[in-house]
Every structure is written in C-alpha cells, then in structure tokens.
C-alpha cells in the first residue's frame, strides 16, 4: 500500500517535472528561433537592399548565395520561396537548403506568412530523417525582393538535439523515480517490520497465554505504543498467574482440609461405632426404652457414617482430587453385584427386580467400585420410589458405548423436579418419610462419577408413571460418546 501510494506520488511528480521541462525547453527554443528568424530577415533585407541587382541572373545568384549563409549545420535549414502569383521574372527559382523538402512547409503557414505583414509566423512540425523523426519548428516571414516582388523566408529549426536532451532528462527522471521507489519500498518494509514485528510477537505470546502458558513474556523494550501494549500484556499475565496460584493454593488447602477432617473424624467415628455395636449387641438385656435407644443409636450411626463418607467424597470431587482406578471389567458382573447388594432392601419392600442383560460379557474400561456404587444408588432410589412395583435394570453395548438403564413405575417427577434431581441434598418430596435414609448426596455423587468416566447420567420421568435413569459410558476411556445404545425407555414399555 505504502509502495503503491509512493509510486503514484513519484510518477505524478516525475510527469509534472518532465512536462514543465519540455515546455520550458520548447519556449526557450521558440524564442531563440524567433530571434534568429528576425535577424535572418534583417540580413536578407540588408543584403538585398545593399546589392546592385540589375538582371534576373544576378538576382538568382544572390538569392542562391543567401540561403547557405543562413543555414546552420544540422539544426537549421532555410527556404526562400517566392510567393505565388507574382507577375515579374517568371523564371526566377526559389532557393532551398540542399536536403530540405519544401513540401514540408504547410500551406496554412505560407498563407499566414503572406497575410501576416511583417509579423513572424511559426508552426511546430515533425521532421523525419532516414532513421528517426524529431520535433521541429518552421518560422516564416515575408521578404521583399527587388525586381522579383514578394518572397517568403522560412527557417526550419530541427530540435533533434533538444529532444535528445529532453529524452535524456526524462530517462534520468524515470530511473531516478524507480530508484526512489525502490528505496521507499525497502525503507517502508523495514520500518513496517520494525513496527509490526513486536506486535506480531505480542500476538504470538498472547496466543500462548490463551493456551495456558502464563510463563511467557513479551519484550518490553522502548517507549512507544507497542511497548506499552507489551507491558500491559505482561501485567495481565502476571495478574492471571497470581490468581491461578491463589486458586491452586486454595484448592490444595481444601484438599488438605478434607484429608485432615476425614482423618480426625475417622478415629472418634470408629470408637462411636464400636461402642454403638457393643450396646446394640446387648440390647436384649436392656429395658424397653434403653433398647429402643440402642437401636436408634445403631441406625443413626450407620447413617451418619454414610453421610460422612458422602460428604468427603463430594469434597474430593470439589477439590478435583479424584482419580479413577480404571480396569477393563464385565459390566454385567458389576450390575450383578449391585443387584445383590440391593436385594435385602428390595425384599423388604416386596419389590421385584427385573433384569435384562445381554448374554456374554460386556467389557468396559471403568472404575468398578465407583460404577457399582453408582448403580447401587440408582437401584436403591428406584426401589424406594417404586411403590413396590417392579424395577427394571437393562444393559446394552454397541462396541463403542455401553449403557445401563434403571426404571421404576413409581411417583415420577415433573420437569422442575427433574431439573433438580442431581442437586445436593435435594429431595423430591421433603414431606416424604425417609425410610431408606439416603444422604441426599447419592445422585450428586453419581453424576460426578459418570462425568469422571466421560459418561452421561440422564433422567426421564413422568408424574405418576415412573422414572428412568440412564448411565452411558464409553467402552474405552478415550472414546467420546455420541449416542447411547439404550433408549430412554418410556414408562409404558415397562408393564
């Protein structure tokens, strides 16, 4: 762009200079030519009037001799033409310079000379020689010749040399212009580079920032706008770094806190649990109110222990301190274990568990303990909310993803409840009797477990029809889920 603009400017300037120069040169040559012609006219007049011309032959000789005296080699030729329509001395010749073609003199000029009185008339013409043409000027003036009447004196000026000069000047101007342009180009390239390079560098470094490498810095040399930009970029990186460090520290503190709390709580919890169990084991020896107290104590210690375990687990997730122990295992086996552990509760609730699993093994890379816990949780929820109607658990795999659905035909939920079902400590119906005594964290942890496996945990429900939870897991840990091999079973299909 810079170079283009410079080119336009240079050539405009060059063109203007060249034109002015040519014009000036022409003007000055014209002036000289006119002066030369005036003096030539004078010379002719003087010669003619000073000579004693008696006859035609003498006159012819005189006229013939006049022409060469007015010539100038190469640059000036002369023609002394007799105006047409002169009655006297019909045989008198019009002398012309040797190599001048008098046809060159245009008729308009001759008319102008004849009618111009003593005025000089001139016209620019193009002279052609053997190889080239050059600009020329013809100046004419009337001359009175004794005996013979009116003649016209023409001086033909060849501007060949001036043209050469002009050509040379134009050539110099053109070359100069090109050199100037090249210099402008190079200079503007380096100037731009000097200006743009730090900006490009800053862009590159800010890309690195965006990718998370906050240790990079932009060079802050100089006092210009670019270095100001560099300084503020660096300041931004430092401030981000500080905040990240702070968050890191908070996260570490949180993790240590969780670990400390869990350890500190564990020892008294162990003692309480042992004591509770010892009393509970001897409850039959106690009177009724003490016995009931021992039973309540026993149950609530279990619940408290579970709540403590869940809280610690959620805290570990919040502190990002969870790493799964991934193994390749048979999902059917995990489902079987989860069902086995929920069986006492199902029997207690007189709930049938229908199982729909594929034959053969469904090998999936997962953390068996977490997934079993997750499924146990879904099953316990289904049994608790299933109103004693059958609960169905299904497994399927398509080689890329595997899925488990757990469906009940119980209360169901409306949309608002479904939106909140994975929230911590949220319960579908706060007034409901808490017989199973879940901690309220089960589904929140289940969701975290599913996400830890890059899996999905979804819910579909209809009020008074039932609820389906679907867990979808990638078969290999690196796979990305696109869809689930099991549909979100509608509750009608269950019956």
């Amino acid at each position: 762009m810079t170079v283009l603009l410079s080119a336009i400017a240079t050539f405009t300037l060059g063109g203007f200079m060249s034109y002015t120069l040519a014009d000036g040169l022409y003007e000055s040559r014209l002036e000289t030519a006119l002066e030369d012609t005036s003096s030539a006219v004078n010379t002719v007049n003087r010669t003619l009037s000073g000579a004693a011309v008696s006859d035609e032959t003498t006159l012819q000789t005189l006229l013939n001799s006049l022409v060469p005296t007015l010539e100038e080699a190469g640059s000036r030729k002369v023609a002394l033409l007799r105006s047409p329509g002169q009655p006297q001395l019909q045989l008198l010749q019009s002398p012309v310079s040797a190599d001048l073609d008098f046809q060159l003199i245009p008729d308009e000029l001759r008319d102008a000379v004849r009618q111009g009185g003593n005025q000089l008339s001139y016209q620019a013409v193009e002279l052609s020689s053997d190889q080239s043409t050059s600009p020329g000027l013809i100046v004419g003036a009337p001359v009175d010749v004794p005996l013979a009447g009116q003649f016209e004196l023409y001086l033909v000026f060849d501007f060949f040399e001036s043209q050469l000069t002009l050509d040379y000047v134009q050539q110099v101007l053109t070359i100069g212009g090109l050199i100037l342009l090249a210099i402008i180009g190079v200079v503007s390239y380096f100037v731009t580079r000097r200006l743009v390079k730090p900006v490009l560098k800053a862009v590159e470094v800010s890309e690195e920032f965006a990718k998370g490498d906050l240790d990079r810095r932009v060079s802050e040399k100089g006092e210009d706008a670019v270095s100001t930009l560099a300084r503020s970029l660096n300041r931004m990186a430092r401030s981000l770094q500080q905040q990240i460090d702070q968050l890191d520290q908070l996260s570490k503190m949180q993790q240590r806190f969780v670990s400390d709390v869990s350890h500190e709580l564990r020892t008294p919890m162990t003692t309480i649990k042992l004591a509770g169990e010892v009393i509970f084991a001897k409850r039959d020896d106690l009177d009724p109110s003490l016995r009931r107290s021992a039973e309540l104590l026993h149950d609530q210690i279990s619940r408290f222990e579970q709540l403590l375990a869940d809280l610690l687990e959620i805290s570990r997730y919040d502190a990002k301190a969870v790493t799964p122990d991934i193994e390749s295992v048979d999902l059917n086996g995990i489902v079987g274990r989860a069902i086995a552990s929920i069986e006492p509760l199902a029997m207690n609730r007189e709930t049938e568990i229908q199982i729909d699993i594929p034959s053969g093994s469904v090998d999936v890379e997962l953390d068996p303990n977490r997934i079993e816990r997750l499924l146990r949780n879904l099953l316990a929820n289904a049994v608790e909310h299933g109103l004693g109607k059958p609960v169905r658990i299904s497994v399927a795999s398509d080689g890329h993803a595997s899925a488990v659905t757990v469906s009940d035909q119980g209360d169901g939920m409306d949309q608002e409840q479904m939106d909140r079902v994975f929230d911590r400590f949220w319960r579908a119906d706060p007034a409901r009797q808490r017989s199973v005594g879940g901690t309220g964290l089960g589904l929140a942890i289940a969701m975290e477990d599913a996400l830890l496996h890059n899996g999905w945990l979804e819910v579909a429900s209809e009020k008074n029809k039932g609820t389906t939870f679907r867990l979808t897991l990638p078969v290999k840990t690196g796979y990305r889920l696109t869809d689930s091999p099991l549909p979100m079973q509608s509750t009608e299909e269950l019956a």
């Binding site: 564990r266 649990k273 042992l274 169990e277």
Partner: protein, 223 residues
C-alpha cells in the same frame, strides 16, 4: 491369648479393648510408637493391632521392627483411601489390615483368623520341591536347614502345597488363608507371595516353588 493394641487415641484404644475382651482375648495397650517395641518385648503378645498414624514413630516403622524379631501376626489399622499406607504396611510385614471405621465383628473376625491354628490336615508332613513342611511343628526345612516363616507365610505355603495340582486364584487364597468371605484386597496376596518367595526360592525372580499361572493365580511347584 494376649493382644497388643498400639493406638494414640485413648477412647478408641479402650473401646477396642472392650471388644476384644468380649471376644475372650486379653488386651495390653501402648499409646506411642516409640514405646511400642519396649511394650512388645515385655508383654510378648500373640498378636499386634497397629495404628498407622502414631506419635513418636509411625506404624510402618514399628511393624518393620517387630517383624525383625518375631513372626507373630500383625494387623494394621488404617484410614480409608490411604492406599500408600496399606502397601507400605504390607511390605513392612503386616499380615492384614482393617480400615477405620470398622465393626466389632469385623475386628474380631480378622483377629480370630490370624490366631486360628491350621486345621483339617491329615498329613503331618508335606513336601514341595526341595522343601519339607512339618505341619504340626509349623516348620519348613530345606535339607537340614530350617527356614523361618511367619504363621501366615506358613499357612500360605501349606495351602498351596497341600493341593499341588490346583491353581489357586487370589480370591481363593484370600478366602482360605486370610478367611475373607467377601471381595477383599488382592494386594494382600501379591505382597505375601513375594515375601514367601524371598524366603523359600533359590532365585525369587525365577520362582520354582510358588509359581505364577498367568491370568489365574498361583500354584505350588511347576506342575
């Protein structure tokens, strides 16, 4: 039967004592890791319950010291999720571990399993490779040389050697040697097989007596 309980928490120590007392064991106590060895030497218990986190000297280090002088059963008490502690404790020579918080019957079951003598043996002498096991005398000999095994290591070797045609899975060994009736930590088996090999094999890296059956488990001899 006398059991030494090493734990820094007074209430827990006393409570564990009550549970053991109810199960018919006699308990002695030590609140501090640094004093544990002295109490051990003085009381000569039949089994040690050892907390991992102890003031003075940590449980893993105490475990190593006891193991250096005695083969008696050691059960570590650990907090859940402290995987490193478990592995360190087992490698220091602990026979088993219990995760806090635990149930009284869980504790007594673990203790009982470790104190139970080997039962149901018809033969009094079993040979495996160059080794001769004296079942009644709890003694293993290579030629005339007596190899000193802990009761657990002896039980492990005896279990494998008594059925040399059978490949034992880790779960089977957990059931028969450790008496777990539910899924337990297979690291127990791995660590103790390594310890046993270190004592009985000529070249523990190239075992001939306790061999690995890839993907299944272990067996005595190379079949």
């Amino acid at each position: 039967m006398k059991i030494l309980v090493v734990d820094d928490d007074n209430a827990l120590r006393e409570m564990v004592g009550i549970v053991l007392d109810n199960a018919g064991y006699q308990s002695v106590f030590c609140p501090d890791g640094a004093q544990a060895m002295a109490v051990f030497e003085e009381e000569k218990p039949d089994l040690v319950l050892l907390d991992v986190m102890l003031p003075g000297e940590d449980g893993v280090s105490v475990c190593k010291k006891i193991r250096a002088v005695s083969g008696i059963p050691i059960i570590m008490l650990t907090a859940r999720g402290e995987t490193e502690d478990v592995v360190n404790g087992l490698e220091a020579g602990a026979d088993d571990y219990i995760v806090k918080p635990f149930q009284p019957n869980e504790l007594t079951a673990r203790v009982k399993a470790r104190l139970r003598p080997i039962s149901g043996s018809e033969a009094s002498v079993i040979t495996v490779g160059p080794l001769v096991l004296d079942v009644q005398g709890h003694e293993v000999k290579r030629g005339e040389q007596v190899i000193s095994l802990t009761p657990l290591e002896f039980k492990l070797l005896y279990t494998l050697a008594s059925k040399p045609n059978l490949v034992f899975s880790r779960e089977m060994l957990l059931d028969q040697v450790w008496e777990y009736d539910y899924k337990a930590d297979t690291r127990l088996v791995n660590v103790h097989v390594q310890r046993l090999r270190a004592k009985v094999e000529d070249d523990p890296d190239n075992p001939k007596i306790v061999t690995t059956v890839r993907g299944i488990g272990y067996r005595a001899g190379s079949g």
